[in-house]
Amino acid sequence: MATEFHNLQELRRSASLANKVFIQRDYSEGTACRFQTKFPSELESRIERTLFEDTVKTLNTFYAEAEKIGGQSYLEGCLACATAYLIFLCMETRYEKVLKKIAKYIQEQNEKIYAPRGLLITDPIERGMRVIEVSIYEDRGSSGSSSGSSSVSVSTAR
């Protein structure tokens, strides 16, 4: 299966969505953005635990960097206040810069690690920063027939 999906587009076209796993937020340290690093059982057969945990830990580091309260963020805040927040119209905040880095990182991880295993990670920002959605794809040819027949029977038995 690793050789079948050369890129993400091919994955989406040739495979069918079998299941989705959601990694929830970890609020143990407050309202800052962190995701649970617990390895979900549905992925046990699909990917190595260390790889997955590394991805989540790196994402957590990125988010911590974005929300870090320090000298630069204070400077940004005070400058914004002094200019009546008009500066946000022309300047990109540090948070947005880090989010771009995160998007690139997720894209890279998907291409290198997850797509070859028939998985796909959705950027949490597309889910309102609530969850990391991991889509599990099955090869369309092999497992499609069983679930297809039951729904066909449902739709025809009027």
């Binding site: 969505l17 905040t93 948070y95 729904s151 739709s155 009027r158």
Partner: protein, 468 residues
Amino acid sequence: MKNCEYQQIDPRALSVSPLSAQSHTEKKDQRPRRKWEVFPGKNRFFCDGRLILARQSGVLPLTLGLIVVTCGLFFAFDCPFLVKHLTVFIPVIGAALFVFVVISLLRTSFTDPGILPRATPDEAADIERQIDTSGSSTYRPPPRTKEILINQQVVKLKYCFTCKMFRPPRTSHCSLCDNCVERFDHHCPWVGNCVGKRNYRFFYSFIISLSFLTSFIFGCVIAHITLRSQAGKSLVQAIQESPASVVELVICFFSIWSILGLSGFHTYLVASNLTTNEDIKGSWSGKRGSEESGNPYSYNNIITNCCVTLCGPVPPSLIDRRGFVPPDEVIPAASSASEMELPHFSAKNDVNMCTQSTKDVLERMVNSGSQTLCSPGTPKTTPLVQELPGTAAPSPEPPPSAGCPGLLDSRCPFFSRSSEKDSLHSINPAFRLASPSPSLTRTAVTLNGAADVGFMPLHPGSARDEAP
């Protein structure tokens, strides 16, 4: 006894259905829609999604009008005299304050306060699977809460039935805007928007600068009248010469009390890292010793709390207003399906309005007590059920069907409407109650397939409760 469970819809089976094929071609003819156009909350959008406002703009025009009128009178009538007798800096300072106030106000009003997008059907199904729903014999499900530890303190997360997710800490559902807002402070009618995580600092700078502005104008007007009456004239004569000053005095006098009080209150909140919502509900005080030890979000240092709240990083808007709706989730094709399959929906083409009204009907039916979880702390909470169901909603008492308990019948039709393409169907009736954005295309297909007791009048011959 047959149950009302439904089959998971296989997306590939749907793609061969003639109905969706027809709607597919219709979708291609329509231009791609932006996400703000299909936003389920009660908000209004301007400039193609760049600006967001609550549906009820409240008294925002009044606020703006008062500020502009007062400042206008000040610049027109008081400033010439004061420039002559005092200093030219008075209108300069006044203008700077005025500009700052107006910009802060507009930013507060038109910024997304931190709205959380509603959970996708897959997420909602996943959460539901993790909740134990077995053995519930009552139709009204118990309020769902989840306890977590934040900084070694137990915090209860409540489940939001409208947004179908567990609300993150400090998040609250605003009933006026029908959205969950992060770090929800309050819904301010003066500003016409909720005040939450992303626009709290704008709101705070608005009220602080407004306090300065009103105090400044008040002081200047007093000075103006005093100077006039000192030049050999009586007070009454001075007032007659400059009647606008009296208007300004009255407005400023009444504003100062409330604005200064509000500024003081919010300064206290900022210093202790609290929200108005938490303060009103007494979440952290009164239960434990001192407030600082009770509040798990506080840094126990006034300066740090202030800096974090006012100068911390601003997260971006999560609702992605100007993004395009992905083609497989486009709803408008449902209108064709609705005309064909559900003639009594044709009265309302707007899908969102339909489900909103349907949801309201259900809420009324099923003891809306559970919905109170979704709207705490808003000072002007309007009644939960605001809209009449209208003619479009199907009758809540469909003819009884074999196998289903009577009350569950009424929920089955609404449940089927809530499904989207890849979702696993919800077994729990409670999770079907508040479905925000249905796809009627799928409804039409499920009508053909699975049994739908609510639409019995249309399909009297349809089999029900298809069990594989």
